[in-house]
Symmetry: C2
Subunit: 329 residues, 2 copies
């Protein structure tokens, strides 16, 4: 009999959507980073749940404090991508009974520190026993429909941009999982990108405020996958003319004979925002993000043809629809 | 080193609250069935997450369809207890990779049927891989602060009531877990109460509408535990003068030499609402619940002394603070 590992996460979601179809308000929104519910007069309630599972989402060497913090970061990042401030969080946990009290305290401290970092309140949750550590972090926020940045909305000619460089998390994960050789200081920096990821909330809010972004997603499933999602939902393609790769990832790739571009494209668990910016607002967008303490990187542009191409140093190459996917055999 | 199973769920929650204290808006509400967030002008956003974990929350013999449905029922029941209509649900799932496709389809069908039963939309979720099946069901609703029924609010003299009889789930769980002897038809009825529990949403909404209930909780942790929670939050005690026990539970208890009163008091996973009703509104409350298709049972009354006493057939007995608790060794 066939098991779901043959399906993979995305086919599973399709199956769920088939069953929930009668129930959904707006199938289009079900494919976005957050769930939306009309409140009144153009105001919307924004909800998001993101589950962290110990055996699949926690790389070796991550502390309980970092695990708790990361559970918050993942959820906050989806709000960041939509340009919406998360106002409150709920945290459901499944805890293995042999967990140490000290580990529990560290986990709680991590959750609290993540909430503090993004200035959001934890207002509830649920506690359960489970075979492995599971944390479902639920976010709540409010937005004006007209300020919301969806995955759809990119137009040909828009500038493709990101709020961060790519590749460091891919490199860090290789170190954590496969023990690649690397200098001590490089190891420390790359592992930090894995253990202490940042949600680009200030950047997302700044861009929403000036209505500069036409579409947005976070790169938690990898840059390539994010671009395919934006492409599918916005019905555009992209040409990448500049790929901002983290310096540490470049050194790591060279040291280990790896392709840095592939590290940058096909990673995951990296929480940069990948956005399209209205061309006329590019300068304003760059300034707004800088003012918020971040940096907006030029990546390329949206095009009419639904194809994603890498065009660097005179070489053209198709980007493949690969990325992080749960339950994929 | 000490592990969390020595703590139990309630001590774990205390620990979390200690860490989240800086972050919480209202500690009092953190101890209620749902999380609350002020919207404006007396309107509140109501949020609730409830995690179902396969190894601890799913009794033997429960189908995947029933598991999916129950995940919805648990969350809806907490809304019912507060007199608030859930408007939307999010469902985060952790799925083991050896789960069959047919099982996944049944699970999805169960989630959808639960949502349909309570007329609530599933608007989002998250899909993950985990070692065992985990479902976190998140509910969203809106309410007027003045209609909300909290765990606090009961006054001495209020009538203690419930929207259902007790004991059937305790008996059914004993059959499912320990294989007690029982006739075929009785077995079927008692197991149904375990596999197909009902959230008393119509009852809760009807009582909120006429503002008859002064405090409320669902009996998912058992009747005794629910009473201790109401007692703690409302600063009252209770005398139980009438204990409505399901007929099937009475027969089961007699057949197996068990105490039916204990089955009724110290159960769990039973989703009756346990409420206090303003004495002057008792008749109106009974009628409103009947009109909604349910039944309001008289249990006794709230008293000034913070003690919970069973006073049946001339015998007085203290009720013990026992009930269902996760992670209790």
């Amino acid at each position: 009999m066939s098991t779901i590992k043959e399906l993979g996460e995305r086919e599973i979601i399709k199956l769920f959507l088939k069953y929930f179809a009668f129930s959904t308000l707006n199938l289009k929104h079900l494919n976005d980073d957050v769930a939306l519910f009309n409140l009144f007069k153009g105001k919307m309630v924004v909800l998001k749940c993101d589950m962290l599972v110990s055996s699949t989402d926690v790389p070796p060497g991550m502390s309980f404090k970092q695990i708790g913090r990361k559970a918050i970061v993942s959820t906050v990042s989806d709000f960041a991508a939509k340009g919406v401030k998360p106002l409150a969080l709920l945290v459901s946990v499944g805890l293995p009974r042999n967990m140490l009290k000290t580990e529990l305290a560290q986990l709680a401290a991590g959750l609290a520190s993540g909430a503090k970092e993004y200035n959001v309140k934890i207002i509830g949750g649920d506690t359960n026993e489970s075979k492995e550590l599971v944390i479902d972090c639920v976010g709540y926020g409010l937005c004006n429909k007209k300020n919301l940045i969806l995955r759809e909305g990119a137009k040909p000619g828009d500038i493709l941009a990101s709020t961060g460089e790519f590749g460091a998390v891919s490199a860090g994960l290789k170190i954590a999982l496969n023990g690649f050789k690397v200098s001590k200081s490089l190891r420390k920096k790359l592992l930090k990108s894995v253990y202490m990821p940042k949600a680009h909330l200030k950047e997302g809010l700044a861009l929403a405020k000036i209505k500069a972004a036409t579409a947005s997603i976070d790169s938690s499933d990898g840059l390539a996958w994010s671009l395919f999602e934006l492409s599918k939902m916005s019905k555009v393609g992209f040409i990448i003319k500049n790929l901002p790769i983290a310096k540490e990832a470049l050194i790591f790739a060279k040291l280990n004979g790896l392709n840095a571009v592939e590290l940058a494209l096909y990673g995951g668990e990296e929480f940069n925002l990948v956005l399209t910016i209205e061309r006329g607002k590019w300068r304003k967008a760059v300034e707004a993000v800088e003012k918020a303490g971040g940096k907006l990187h030029f990546l390329g542009e949206a095009i009419k043809k639904k194809k994603i191409t890498l065009s660097l140093n005179g070489l053209k190459e198709d980007v493949k629809p690969l990325g992080w996917e749960h339950l994929k055999a």
